[in-house]
Symmetry: T
Subunit: 153 residues, 12 copies
């Protein structure tokens, strides 16, 4: 059984506070609050707490990454536009003591070329994209499964 | 309820017949048979049949893609090395009447640069990579969820 | 006649708070306060209110862009150095419910190559550059003219 | 007069077996059988037999190219997606004892950039593209005209 | 039956007035007058009038393109060296009310790399190259066939 | 007061004689005559005469640029497609004894990549684009304002 | 003798607050507080005060750069990840009234290619890298020596 | 002494079945059968058996590579055109339990640029090219020498 | 002795009619008439007539190149800005029946990068640049010397 | 205490024998002899002997690098123009049994682009540049500090 | 029989005098003297004399290449780092009256990208690399075999 | 009159000692001694002494450039292969107190692409190429003419 104090950190980057108000073609119509609630619900079902966070300020995301504690079982990050450019966030991510999954709501490869490059992709465990809010939910499952497996070893 | 004749097609490209015998650093130690069995089990649980296929011959993969029928609820393809080069397979994938998910066992972005490019990525629904055999299982869930949602609309 | 509550938002990016103190070769000797006053004066003459804003923090600019209301008749943005790199600001700009004009004080094309690329230029209505503070004033006229025309249709 | 045993070889690459079932925007609604029949009919009218061939397996195309006999008056090849990548087919084409014409149904230059490159284009006699099935028929005429002229010299 | 006043416009770019006097390796030994006569003869046979034009002055070609009338059934253009560089001619071509075919006497892909790029190729219906004067004649047939088909719809 | 003999030269490049007949998506529905009249009217109001000129022949544009006299208060040039390629026009522009403004009707950055490069942009005073005929009118104001300011110094 | 009110500003960019907790392979095991103390001590010995500053927020670094006063004898900046991307910080640095030295703890050229580019390097006086905390201490000496020399002139 | 069951695998890629019938300028006039015989003869002299294989089907080459057994003392592969493009073959080669030597009949560097790139070259032991059939014979010696040396250690 | 009817053709491209009025930094202060007179004088001294020509219209230059007669002993061309872009002039130059020398007044390699590329340079006999009007005079000598030598063989 | 026989090797590449006679804008007015004397003096003060060497012949620099003995405590190399191109010197440097520091008198990043690349930078310990002769003196201190620290471990 | 005065020239470039003292990972532990002795021994066995040469000075290698006499039966060159950069050595090699083989001890393609380019590779007969000292010995055999064959013709 | 002690320095780079023995296609059949004699003769006629020098060692060329004295009226350098790569020679050339002319025997632009780049071309006065030994003789005249002109000013 996973200890009660094990949690997942869910981090959302710039403009994601506007989900549900933005072009539904790429991002769907659910708000961030709804998505966070679904993530929390699934995580609880799989035995994990959650900590969710959104910011439009790069430095606040970095501070948040620094604050990840060792009982964190995994990080799910949708760094939004910073995915493509922020080496500062990459550096903070690369220091984390737990597995990280990169997610995107939309299929970034079907969009502008500048969205095809991720500065995080080679330092995360894996990447899930294109499934709308399911991208997050699948990442919760991926981390739970990985956690289970590493506990068995 | 999903009709009994709905199925998922799971397609594996070149060298994947050697899983479990290859360098476990990137691909884990399970054989393709074991992975197919786990996929089948999860799909059944979620109400889908499965059709699995592996080939090292590009033309056979194309033929198999041509044979996908309309009652197919989704395709999961790990095109292996062809992911990076085969426009012929891209063309066959682009004609499919159902959603396609691209999966990879390893995090291809943490490997050689030539593995970073996918000729399929802009025509699939989404992409899951880096979770070993879980990449396939998450893709099964992604397609089931999507199928459920489109049936509700 | 333009309704009294129609306004233009004038947004200034990083380092523009130092105008008039910086190298006059590229930026002239007027301070930002003087420029804002001239913009306000011309806008009022053409029947618009104005809201001006400057920040050196990218996240604050994003928040400000999110706060643009529907009665805004147009946005004039000099994103400064972010023009060349910030996809996060591009994403926020691309959601605006009103026309946006990109302006620059200096002729960026007569300067370093990294200033030749704008990540905003393909999503704005138009671009005016090289005329010092007149770049802003011409943008006010451009938006007023456009507004007039769309009201006539 | 052209001897009765002079023939043209018409070679179709991957996915072309699906013509008429694929997106009609690029490829029209005729099946490969219909197109082959029209080619055959025009060729006969101009005094040539025909041998048509389609495969999705690169190695079978190579074998077929090796089998071209000296009484072949010309080869018309639509190598499909291999046009852009297969040096192996290029090598086989470059050994042919007769003129080769490269054809495409669609205007490949109005499509994705990866379709703009042909690895065959510098070793064929000429290239015809963008006229749907007429691309093949014009190629038949081109070879017939060329054959007539070389017989007169 | 095609109405008598339907015509094809045949446009030749720079240096093509020297055909038959230039290096026969790439362009053959026929003069432009001879080629125009053969085009005219085939067009008449297929029910079309012709208007032929050659110039070494880009602006005259643009003026000529502007003068194409609506009863023109199609344009055949060999823009010569301008093919590779003239966006002004591309712009004039893109406004034409009828289908355009790009032709070249030689196989430009077997020549210098700067001849491989065409600024017209993505806005024309199709492209025929490498067959000497037959390139023009095949283009006449291509346009006639296309015209016939569109009249039948 | 501006002396009566001060004038602005308005220069239009290739295909702009067709304005109002071309695709209204990019260029609007006004003819060049209408646009010239509006420019003339605004310039007169601001105290300047105008000389307008259009040509499709690069050499004629160069001759016209050579003919710019010293009492010219400024040049507004929409070099059309030559903007992207003509170093000869750049060389003629670089010799002018008065300020030059580059204008474009459409937002060239929202169009094909080859329209993103200007060979004039680093030698002009400023650039205005994307506002249809207003691009010209704003340029008239920009030059008038600049002229006023330089007279005051 | 250096006046008592002469000081050096030491600026640390993102993630440097975590020094001593991060991968010691690249950055050593000293904390930022320890490093700042050693810098302060050496500076005092050479006759300078110091002002040290660290932030993870780009806008705060820009504000800090704007606040550099004229009695500052020199700036030492380790802009961390911003070194490679932030033109906004470059613009703020380029306005400083005193010499600037760029330092890095690690040899950035022995790491990932994206760390090889500095947007500051052409506007600073010099660059010191690869010596751990000694990079800062050497920069203190470099500025002191430069200051001494310019006072002697 | 080398055990009798030690063998070398000699693998030939696409079009090599046509050796002796192709352009002798690059490949010489010996047929593949003759070359295989010479290889076999030299290998026997040096104490090794041989297994030779040629195919034009990429998937068959992959299957053949998978079938290499542990008593194989070394593989000599002339992958022909696949050398330049087939990551699938690279992946199969990279799993081999024995040293691999890449050979080419011709000096690929004196030919077209696309022949200069090998996707195998960084995972093989060594490379021999330009000596016609001697390339194979030298590779046999290279493997024999290497085998001898590793047995002595 | 050189026959009286042997002549050299001296061709000047766009903007060169303005020599002596343009920036003397690059081009010196002599007018084209003066330069032509010096060329004529030297040529006469060396036994050649001259034909000089200048145009700003590319098509007129092409026509002039077509008019070069067989008794022309050599062509000296300063194609100005067309040097860098006009493939049409290259094509006309490549047909000339006599040696061609490319000249430039200024050292184009010490100027903007777009002046470093010449589309003529690989088809002319030689190139002389950087010596002001002497570039032409040296070219006259180069052609005279070459002519002398070829007459002796 | 550092043993008396510990020394630092100071290596100067091509053209550095001309220091003090060359453009003082980049290199200052001190001769190499003066600089060597200052280096020697500081090194002695810090407890090290010195060996200085300058050559314009790449092979002599390589020989000198081969002659570095194990009691050498560190190498300071200003490879001049070879910094940007000489892989042979890189290879010799990479074999040294002691730490190497790369120095430059000028800030190479504020100069021509070809000076921005160093073939040594990823194999040295660190790099110091832009401080004139102080670059060398700081390098002496850097090596002394590093030596002290490694003796304490 | 090969005449007694036939010899092979074995040329070693920079740093190869240090073989056996350098990193054995890439180059093995044999000294150059040992390798030369083995080459000499094998050459003698095959009927050839040898002349071996090593230098770190490019000009001395060029002089040595100039001194190759016509009775030289072949040259084996390991140009070391010059392989990647020295056009001067390429020019000297291209004049040799006998076949040249390029060799490398290590597999340069498994090392840094700058070692993948050879400026000699397109002008030599063939290339052998990756077999340590066997690379040289195989080259001796290759030249002997080639010599034998050319004597038989 | 030119003072008797005025001289021209003629510098020849690597492999030029072999002129007349090398491929006459590019370099003609005269030896370097003959060419030097013709240069000397023409220079004397024009009132200059000459100093000629050839070396295959880059460092010797640098030393020779350092030795150019102030009474040198000009330098003519054919740096051979170093033209394309040696920044060290560029640095030495850039310090010369007299005008420098770059010459080449052959038209380097009609040869391999790597010969198209010169690292000297932007720092010399002018460039003459393609006229065989006349390239040198024309350079002598160019320097004499320039010298005459600067004496008259």
């Amino acid at each position: 059984m996973t200890p009660a104090n094990q949690y997942l950190a869910i981090l959302h980057g710039p403009n994601l506070d506007r989900l549900g108000e933005r072009d539904p073609k790429w991002y769907g119509s659910d708000t961030l609050a709804i998505i966070n609630a679904e993530i929390e619900s699934l995580a609880r079902e799989l035995g994990f707490g959650t900590q969710t966070f959104q910011t439009n300020v790069e430095g606040e995301m970095i501070d948040r990454l620094h604050a990840i504690e060792s009982q964190c079982a995994g990080v799910i990050i949708n760094a939004g536009a910073w995915t493509h450019t922020s080496i500062a966030i990459r550096d903070a991510v690369s220091q984390l003591p737990c597995p990280v999954v990169e997610v995107h709501l939309s299929n970034v490869y079907a969009r502008e070329p500048f969205r095809h490059k991720s500065v995080l992709e080679d330092i995360v465990v894996g990447k899930i994209l294109g499934f709308g809010k399911d991208s997050y939910l699948l990442a919760v499952r991926a981390l739970a499964s990985r956690h289970e497996r590493s506990r068995q070893e």
